[in-house]
Amino acid sequence: MIVWIILFPMIGAILNGLLFASGFWKKKCNGDEHTEHNISGIIASGAVLLSALLSTYFFVQLLSLEPSQRQIIQELFVWIPSGDFTVSFELMFDTLSSVMALVITWIGFLIHIYSIGYMHHDKGFAKYFTYLNIFVFFMLILVLGNNFPLMFVGWEGVGLASFLLIGFWYQDTEKAYAGRKAFVVNRIGDFGFILGIFFIFFIFGSVNYQDVFGKALDPAFMSAVPAVTITAIGLLLFVGAVGKSAQFPLFVWLPDAMAGPTPVSALIHAATMVTAGAYMMARCNVFYSQSPTAQMVVVSIAAFTAILAATIAITQNDIKKVLAYSTVSQLGYMFMAIGVGAYAAGLFHLVTHAFFKALLFLGSGSVIHAMSDEQDIRKMGGLRKKIPITAITFLIGTLAIAGVPFLSGFFSKDEILAALYDRGYTIHWIIALITVVLTALYMLRLYLLTFEGKSRVPESIKRYIHESPYSMTIPLIVLAVLSILGGYIGVPDFMGKVVGLHDTNLFEHYLSPAILIDNAKEVGHHLFGHWALVGFSIGGAALGIIIAFYLYSFKPSAPAKIAKDIEPLYKASKNKWYVDELYDYIFVQPFSYLCNQAYRFDQNIIDGAVNGVAAALKDTALTLQTAQTGVIRSYATLMAIGAAVILIIIVLW
């Protein structure tokens, strides 16, 4: 029955694709565009809603089981039978995938609803929903598959959907390029991922989760496997995650991916697809927990990504670009948590981040909608009075991501910081703490420049600013509520005790069956206790917020002055630390030089040879053409002579 979770979106995609995107409806039924859009939107959203309800049903079933039994497996058919090696099309609904499935389907459903309003005037409405359903389908395969090849199928499928949706307005060359860039950069990561899968098969002789992890947990088996192999597997899988989840150095595609429609940015490039890497690594926790080297690499890259993206986000002026870099930075947090072995904390942040980042993106979509497709925050300001619902929900999202106490982001981020500190990654903890300040700073800057202060909106647009329709505001409100309350599913035990909620971390407890090795051992005695760490993170958030208010609310002239004082740094940050340019210089240009040389070689030498042969053949043919007289008797004669020659050869042999 689990299969229906993935089948509904597939059916939705097929229906939408065949009925509407193909133009069938328009031709055969003469339906007007309005009805067509409504039906198509309802089919797509309905499909995801059914998946969501089904996921919830299975989630409730899981809860009724014993914690150690919480796993539902359904085998559909044998997919690749090849000698000893078989891969089944097998779905698994366990605690880890249930969390992912719930996030994907419910947030996906909200974003589908939102899209009905957002895309209503778009010509490619049905095509959009087809792609969106395809995305949900593949994303669910990714998280529900019970073996690595199936995960890879989903992994590539969401890559495809992402490519299609980033380049959705492909008439705009730049947007089409952005789609292509995302695809190409992702391929680099996928290369690592598939190598990792090969490695796993090579070592463990299977690709099924139960077999692989079972062997990986078996000390007798593992004693024969060199530690460096496990590190290699971990690092190769991490390369895949780096590509899909936009970590340094492959994060460059994500900001460009904002070329797609905003709900897509919310669903794919903030809430779900980019977190696939985190899911994959949490799934493979046995490898990371057994390889300190891999963990160190993961944590370091994640920390570097988090702070790098945060410093870029401060200076960006495109509302979606700020959010994109913020996503990269937040993904860095998730990977830091996973890198230190605090998988539950990472996934907890994944969930809360899905809530508030989807909210922020949808809010920014609402702003863009109101501003007639203007995305530059320098041309906004004072929008709160015009679009109050968007403004309030956006503020909630901002505060949640900044880590203001009692909102969802506070709990999850705090847990990650605590995990970093507890496990002795002090330097990373400090970096993460600085990033907290930066996060609060750039998010408040975004909010203040967009919604507060004096209006800088051009007169031509001003008249048209309006609040979005209900189909858009309702998802915003729902997500805002989730952003506030979502954190309470994972209140840390020490806080829970104080307020008498629960004495265990519910989320961590629920997830624990899927986390096969729990190396949450705390290293030695620490200078700071839990409450002190909480104080640090609150302090960091407060510092960021205060700076933001000072700079963008009380002293609006200050930012420009600061920018001038530290001009090189400012410029570097504004230009994304020249990473794109660096890649262009290191990879793209030498490659295109190589290609040019190859092109010349091909033109002159290979084509020269081919054309020469062709020309020679043509001349020969022209000469031989005279033999084709059309006189049948001469053909007969030639045939007879040929037969005679063969006879001579046979006789004389």
Partner: protein
């Protein structure tokens, strides 16, 4: 006796064949062809192929030749329709050369392999060359090819009808 019959009818067959390719008038050629086919039928009898000999006369010398003659008559050829023949020496020379080669080859094949006719032993085989024998062979071992020839004939019939009909308009 057998030797005499062979040489007489072999000579007749060759003469007929030569006449086929030398006569100008198609009617004469056709009649010469009948002579050749008939002589061959006699040789078949010598080879104990009775059924095949009958078929040869009925189908070949009978039906096919009638078709030829019918067509020639039907066309009602004008005299100048036949006034063309090759004047190219080249064709004739090359054709003759080819002929010599074939004759030489087949002659050498026949003498080299040392195969001999086995009339006595062959006649011991029950039903050799009779309707029954050929029929058994045709409808057991060679049933599928036999049925396929019927399809071939059907296709030929349809083809002929199509070709003839088109030109009628």
């Amino acid at each position: 006796m057998e030797t005499v019959v062979f040489y007489v009818f072999a000579a007749l067959a060759l003469a007929g064949a030569l006449m086929v390719i030398t006569f100008k008038n198609p009617v004469s050629s056709a009649l010469s062809l009948v002579l050749t086919l008939f002589s061959t039928a006699v040789l078949f009898v010598l080879l104990l192929a009775h059924f095949v000999a009958v078929i040869q006369i009925l189908v070949y010398a009978g039906a096919i030749m009638i078709l030829f003659l019918f067509t020639v008559m039907f066309l009602n050829l004008k005299p100048d329709a036949l006034k063309f023949e090759s004047k190219h020496l080249g064709f004739k020379v090359s054709a003759l050369l080819v002929i010599l080669l074939f004759v030489g080859y087949f002659a050498s094949l026949g003498f080299k392999k040392g195969l001999y006719l086995s009339n006595t032993s062959t006649s011991d085989i029950e039903g050799f060359g009779t309707v029954q024998g050929v029929g058994m062979s045709l409808f057991t071992d060679y049933l599928l090819p036999f049925e396929l020839t019927s399809i071939l004939i059907l296709v030929a019939i349809i083809g002929v009808v199509v070709i003839a009909k088109k030109r009628a308009n």
